[in-house]
Symmetry: C2
């Protein structure tokens, strides 16, 4: 066999980067015994000198030194962020390097361009670690399910928000307290805005949707809601009604329409996704041959992510050694269009905050009825004349457009004291 | 690019074979667009002429015609059984063909020899469909988790038995009635002996254990129990105590000892594996980097299995086109020894069938105590003097060897009227 040595340059040695380097060094021998390939970490860079210090012997002074190094075959990019990482990756591809990255924001924005450039240069892009940590969902969609027409993907894709929702459920804590706990335990970044707004979940569902449908939509084209606004009272009412609240990324395909959205969902407690607790992730996939399939695992943490990075590095190493470049295209069967969010139909959970006086329910119900929204059940527990109290309502299936219009009207009523909380209720997701 | 056409010969066109052929023909175009590879089914054989008739244009008169055909790159073996399939596969490897098979009995018996021969001839063996249908567990263990030291695999790996246990739970039916229903619905073979004795599960856990530990143990070396003997009364008592009964394949590694066993297990209802119903399969995996991971999906059926066969065919096609042969070794980190079954320790569920008279419980308890088995709880509901009634007992952790010895002694007591039912209770499996 020809040269069976692959040299790796690592840019970024934070949690994932340093864990990857340490794990790969520890496991170098066993990987060689399994694959016949010797994988060396040859250069490491991080702009933070403290982080870099732990890998002194391997460290270089700039990312460019790694990109320009002729001996390096694969660059592992673990710095995160978009613009600078994008620039680095394009330069590296230009120099004939394959890339392994965990950067979901980047792939969900520039994936198409990056893959096209890589294909032109006969190099490979590994991005398993960008979605759901250790769960091999990208490889499974790309390779294991390659024969399938994938019709549905549902994912709990963000450990931070799932942890917060679990905390609120089990300990009755407020959103803010749960977020503080998440930060204390290292499950949330100092700035968790991407997580709790749903944007991180959106990046990930866009990537999964891209692989399985061949079309990469932009985050600006889809509806993204986070878990802001959900209060313990919602968790409790949902619980009483037999539901859990989870933040889902949803991608559903029907004919040439695809529906991609991110928002909290009331899921029946018997639904397997409602059992996914804490920082764990899960992805449910439906396809024409596989039927229903679910993956569950750790969504975060250095070890989980570096398991996926190592897998990508080895896969690409094999391909580099094979020399013959093999195409890998994400193909859409139809000319897919994004279904406008206003046209989706689900059941709904509403929490109105209304003055407790006669006639209030009649007013709300009339507006809903006028907008073709029919009520399934109503709960109003507190009895507190002239005070604002929560009124919980579940509806039959209704159109998003009608719901938005109705709630806008309802929220203008004088008896309504706070913006109404809307959570979609998905009963037939599996 | 050089020759990007791969020719397939199919031997065996029963449920999986015919589904594979039809699916691959339908999906040929999209696979070509995704990979650049044209995959042709060029020859098909089945010894059953009726089955073969549906693929008349492709049919040949013998398996040998396929093996000897110089244009065929990959042979898909879907006949099942051991000896004849083994002979065919060795001949095909000798002729330089790669193999894709769903044959778990074969791989669990002759996997080591087959892989060695294949490696000598620089050909590939795909066997994803041999375990858990559409679930990509083999690829995940081989490739996605390649960096991990896998410490535990637990699987619901047989759809037939899981269906029977679900039926008994939900409909209160007897084992025999549930088995009849399974047969009627096509979920059980005419001869379901491999399923209900646990042997099919054993083949599969041996394969998974092999991939993850590098050592293929023989079915004769491990303890295998099926679901024979489990009665609705056990399902009901388990339910009352908060448990479900499931048939599990278990492989646990600790230092240089590995424990592989197949038997029914009482699982807490909160355990994610206890939610796997009907013909579905699930595999739980623990590793040093991935932490805890679970795969769930359809374990049987032509489409599910052929999804995995197609995936293997495409992977091998890419490798064939790449020309450069890449090793793939299953490696054990330590020199693994099988832990004797008698040395395992779990909690236990016993169902004694004893004459209902004073002193019986004292006799049973004394024997258990003498054998270091301490009782956690006892249920005896029926009160029927001088008749044999069920006595249910849960124990604390005890050694299998002691349990066997104690139950042997207890079953010799005059007051005991039927062999005692023993089901292991695994609470800390995840």
């Amino acid at each position: 066999m020809s040269k069976n040595i692959i040299n790796i340059g690592v840019i970024g040695c934070g949690t994932v980067g340093s864990s990857f380097i340490k794990n790969l060094i520890t496991k170098k021998k066993i990987i060689k015994r399994k694959t016949g390939i010797e994988i060396n970490i040859s250069k490491v860079f991080d702009k933070d000198k403290n982080k870099l210090a732990q890998f002194k012997k391997l460290s270089v002074n700039s990312a460019n030194e790694i990109i320009k190094n002729r001996d390096i075959d694969i660059i592992v990019e673990l710095i995160g962020g978009i613009d600078y990482a994008y620039e680095l990756i394009l330069k590296a591809i230009e120099k004939g390097k394959s890339i392994v990255t965990a950067n979901k924001a980047l792939i969900s924005k520039y994936g198409e361009i990056i893959f096209k450039k890589a294909s032109e240069k006969n190099v490979y892009i590994g991005f398993e670690a960008s979605v759901a940590g250790a769960i091999p969902i990208i490889k499974s969609l790309k390779e294991s399910f390659i024969g399938n027409k994938i019709t549905k993907i549902l994912g709990i894709l963000n450990g931070t928000t799932n942890f917060i929702l679990s905390e609120m459920y089990y300990n009755g804590t407020s959103f803010n307290d749960a977020l503080s706990t998440a930060k204390k335990l290292g499950y949330a970044e100092a700035n968790p805005i991407l997580d709790i707004t749903g944007n991180d979940t959106a990046h990930k569902i866009l990537i999964l949707s891209y692989i399985s449908s061949g079309k990469l939509f932009s985050i600006d084209e889809i509806s993204v809601e986070g878990i802001y606004g959900i209060e313990p009272i919602d968790i409790n009412f949902a619980n009483e009604l037999g539901y859990r609240i989870k933040l889902l990324g949803i991608s559903k395909k029907e004919n040439n329409q695809i529906e991609i959205r991110v928002h909290p969902v009331l899921l029946p407690k018997s639904h397997i996704l409602s059992l996914v607790e804490g920082i764990n992730n899960a992805v449910y996939v439906e396809g024409d041959m596989i039927g229903k399939s679910l993956f569950y695992g750790e969504g975060a943490g250095g070890d989980a992510a570096s398991s996926s990075v190592i897998s990508d590095v080895i896969d690409i190493s094999k391909k580099i050694i094979s020399k013959q470049f093999i195409e890998e295209n994400f193909i859409s069967e139809n000319n897919l269009n994004l279904k406008p969010f206003d046209e989706i139909e689900t059941k709904y959970y509403f929490r109105f905050t209304a003055i407790d006086k006669p006639g209030v329910l009649a007013k709300i119900s009339k507006i809903l009825g006028d907008n073709n929204i029919s009520i399934l059940s109503v709960i109003q527990k507190q009895d507190n004349p002239k005070q604002a109290v929560p009124i919980i309502m579940l509806t039959h299936k209704a159109k998003e457009r009608n719901v938005k219009k109705a709630i806008k009207m309802i929220d203008k009523l004088e008896v309504i004291k706070k913006p109404t909380i809307i959570i979609r209720l998905e009963e037939n997701l599996m």
